[in-house]
Subunit: 217 residues, 2 copies
């Protein structure tokens, strides 16, 4: 009974996600669905990405949060258009929320839309939004065992950003173990080691992302 | 429609939670429901708590995870009885899962049962399990804004453990701001600053917890 309900929710989500994907494609917008635990550094990573791409690409951001507009305000300081979605308790964004947010953007004038999902390693994994890439941030202080404990999230993602590598050595996080744990789930995943604090590794991510956007255009 | 279904799920959960609470009381078991983001240090905190209480109290642990038994194996090394619940995708434990796990313990022979919930700052907040205390761990690298972004979780909790204080100064986490953010939600909350790595603050937590258990006996 419960499973049937969930399936019909997911079916509807997938249908609207396909409509969103079509809208994005028609308008030439490349879309990232950015997911992570609370506090892994999603907003800092978005700001670093904006700073590295502003000028050559036109960006927009959707900020998903249960409550508050702390993140939206931070991103807004970069000058890019930001829409805040407050889910009012819901533990993930869904494609319907995204569809409702889209009329607030001038899509013809966007190259890249970054969607910051609710901080949660569980529920967002099941709800596609119409994105080109699912990007997961895993931060060093969270530990190298997270891919084992949240396998759906990590096996569904196209890119994993290992953030806060400036804290390597201050925790017992092992790069070797995390690569092993990720590759055990999915071999073809792209992994970047970055620190949004020091800027390390951001350049490699930006170069790779720009190539993906240009390929899709 | 969806809301009605959720309500009936929550009603059933509350009913079974009350049954669990009765069972715990009859058997003299004090119960902690431990919640946090992935990687905040729940398992390390449980191990520190066990080490500080073994000898004077008889402990048991329920480990809730979506997948894997990584945490259960770590806790098992302390010698206390551990039951692993794999939720198979569900983003929180519920009272029914706990009820099913209880026959695996010798409850008459337990003083304290620690339940490690699924790593998630959203969904577990809505599902009581029959516990005496809800304990939230917030770790320094996650940032001091988390109470603003996950208000239900923080306002529902009785105790907040600020973990990884050994990383204060290496991040922009401010103790002053986090206290402000927490007290804005609920004034009577108990807060402990600890580091499971260095052991700082653990003694204060143990002293306070022992008093609560003795009060309840």
């Amino acid at each position: 009974m419960e499973i049937k309900i969930l399936e019909s929710v997911l079916e509807r989500n997938n249908k609207i996600a396909a409509e969103n994907a079509k809208t994005f494609k028609e308008n030439g917008v490349f879309v990232l669905n950015l997911m992570a635990s609370p506090g892994a550094g999603k907003t800092s990573f978005i700001i670093k990405t904006i700073q590295g791409m502003q000028g050559s690409f036109k960006l927009g951001v959707i900020e998903g949060d249960i409550a508050s507009k702390v993140d939206a305000e931070k991103v807004q300081e970069t000058g890019v258009p930001v829409i805040q979605i407050n889910t009012g308790g819901a533990c993930h964004l869904d494609s319907i929320m995204i569809q409702k947010a889209l009329p607030h953007f001038d899509l013809k004038n966007l190259d890249l839309l970054i969607i910051e999902n609710v901080g949660n390693l569980v529920c967002p994994a099941e709800f596609i939004l119409g994105e080109n890439l699912k990007v997961i941030i895993l931060s060093v202080p969270e530990g190298d065992d997270k891919p084992l404990k949240y396998p759906l999230m990590f096996s569904e993602s196209d890119v994993i950003i290992l953030n806060k590598i400036d804290l390597l050595g201050l925790t017992d996080f092992s790069l070797e173990r995390v690569y092993q744990n990720i590759k055990g789930l999915r071999k073809d995943i792209k992994i970047f080691e970055v620190s949004c604090k020091t800027g390390d590794g951001i350049e490699d991510w930006l170069t790779w992302l720009k190539e993906r956007i240009e390929e899709a255009m």
